[in-house]
Amino acid sequence: MKRRTPFFLSLLIAALIVVGVLLASFFSITVSSLPALKKFGLDFFLGKQWDPPAKVFGALPFLIGTLITSFLALLFSLPFSLSISILLGEYLKKGRLASLLKSLVDLIAAVPSVIYGFWGLQVLVPWMREFEMKIGVSPYGVGILTASFILSVMIIPNTASIAREVLELVPADLKEAAYSLGATRYEVIKRVSIPYAKSGILAGVLLSLGRALGETMAVTMVIGNSNVIPRDIFSPANTMASVIANEFTEATGNLYYSSLIAIGFFLFLITAVFSILGRHIIKRSSLK
């Protein structure tokens, strides 16, 4: 290597420090979660009971809470994020309105999640309570559905911007071919652009899912923080992230502490898998 100037070395060191911090934190999380994993084994994930006073720690309620909130959020957000991406990727490519919309959508991602949590508590929870009273379920206001709504708003920009980018990558000559065969704009989008961009859109969805799985603050504020397996989507619950945020400060005793960290360990793994998978698909589809 001929680049061994002091400047290059300092850049390299800075990069290595960052990687080192990541590895070190992963290492310490792994080590700290070992006591809980050793004690409960596989039951840590299958155990339905999370009972700190009795020193019984089963994370199944949080696993379920995380999966349901994330998938519901994805479901709610998809119609909006896909519409935005098609609007910006196919119709409004240039101009004031397009750049305004683009920056507003990006702004959604830039708002701190605690703000969403506040909005949820102040506005969404009372609405949900009224709605729940009308349909005759326990009017908690907080719960899985409320958290999913908040989450769905927060993940819109992820899918929307990635899907827009891959739609913009659809070669113009393919669209022209379709137009020359008498297709309308709608038919071109439906039968040429979206099929071509499919894997990239999927990648955007996966990255959104990763974000939803790990989102903490807003969810913690509106999900109701209940440690039992939710009965239905109106029930208060906890996600893996929200139980950590909610109980970490009061975790007394080694096992309690270790159990929370073990949850974090697996949350880390799950979100990493989704993020790597999503990025991998993006890379592959843009090389094509």
Partner: protein, 252 residues
């Protein structure tokens, strides 16, 4: 001259304020190959894109004047209908990579949401691929994606795709510019055969190609139609000095 199937009257085309074509009036005879010849930037591609209303897809592009297909102004017809009657093949082969060879051929029907019976579709696929001289090469791979085909085969697939709509006119926009000489001569042979069923307008900047395959030639320069006539006489006794200079290679 034989009866024209498509003609233009004072056709001008613009990109924003820039005028790319200046008042073109020309009539294309039926079942003949007409070459639209000229140096790059002369407006020849823009011209044929006006003939099937593809020009207007570009933002800020507009057209003045008339294009008459069998005496009907295509600018008073649905653009999608116009494009089904007047097919187009592009410079770069552009089969749909997400579709099989079979689906590529009937893509026009699929895109337009026209339902075909299986037997009808089979018939159209075979007929179009035969016309495009591709059937023998792909008949055993119809349900594979067309991406493994060579450039020349892909271009013939695109020709089959255009023919499948049974157009009255086929516009070829420098269809061999991305192909090697062997693939080029196969396409040229194909053009000869195709004119029995469809009127062909071939854009090219290749003088040799125009002389080999066309019955008529229109020479375009700087957005103007300089000269139009039977290929043989235009090549041997050009009336305009600019045509002559282009043909002997003074510019272009």
């Amino acid at each position: 001259m034989e009866s024209p199937i498509i003609r233009t009257e004072n056709l001008s085309a613009y990109y924003g304020d820039f005028r790319a074509l200046n008042s073109i009036t020309i009539a294309f005879p039926q079942n003949k190959v007409t070459a639209v010849l000229g140096p790059s930037g002369c407006g020849k591609s823009t011209f044929i894109r006006c003939l099937n209303r593809m020009h207007e897809i570009v933002e800020g592009a507009r057209v003045e004047g008339k294009v008459l297909l069998r005496d009907r102004n295509i600018y008073e017809m649905e653009p999608t209908l116009v494009r089904r009657k007047i097919g187009m093949v592009f410079q770069k082969p552009n089969p749909f990579p997400t579709m099989t060879i079979y689906d590529n051929v009937i893509a026009g029907y699929k895109l337009n949401g026209i339902k075909l019976k299986k037997s009808q579709a089979d018939e159209i696929v075979e007929e179009s691929l035969r016309k495009a001289a591709l059937w023998d090469e792909v008949k055993d791979h119809l349900h594979k994606r067309g991406t493994f085909l060579s450039g020349g085969q892909q271009q013939r697939l695109c020709i089959a795709r255009a023919l499948a709509m049974r157009p009255e006119v086929l516009l070829l926009d420098e269809p061999t510019s991305a192909l090697d000489p062997v693939a080029t001569s196969r396409i040229e042979e194909l053009i000869e055969e195709l004119k029995e069923t469809v009127t062909i307008i071939l854009v090219t900047h290749n003088i040799g190609q125009a002389s080999r395959v066309s019955d008529f030639t229109a020479f375009f320069y700087l957005g103007e139609l300089v000269e139009f006539g039977p290929t043989q006489s235009l090549f041997t006794v050009p009336k305009d000095k600019r045509t002559e200079e282009y043909l002997i290679g003074k510019f272009g």
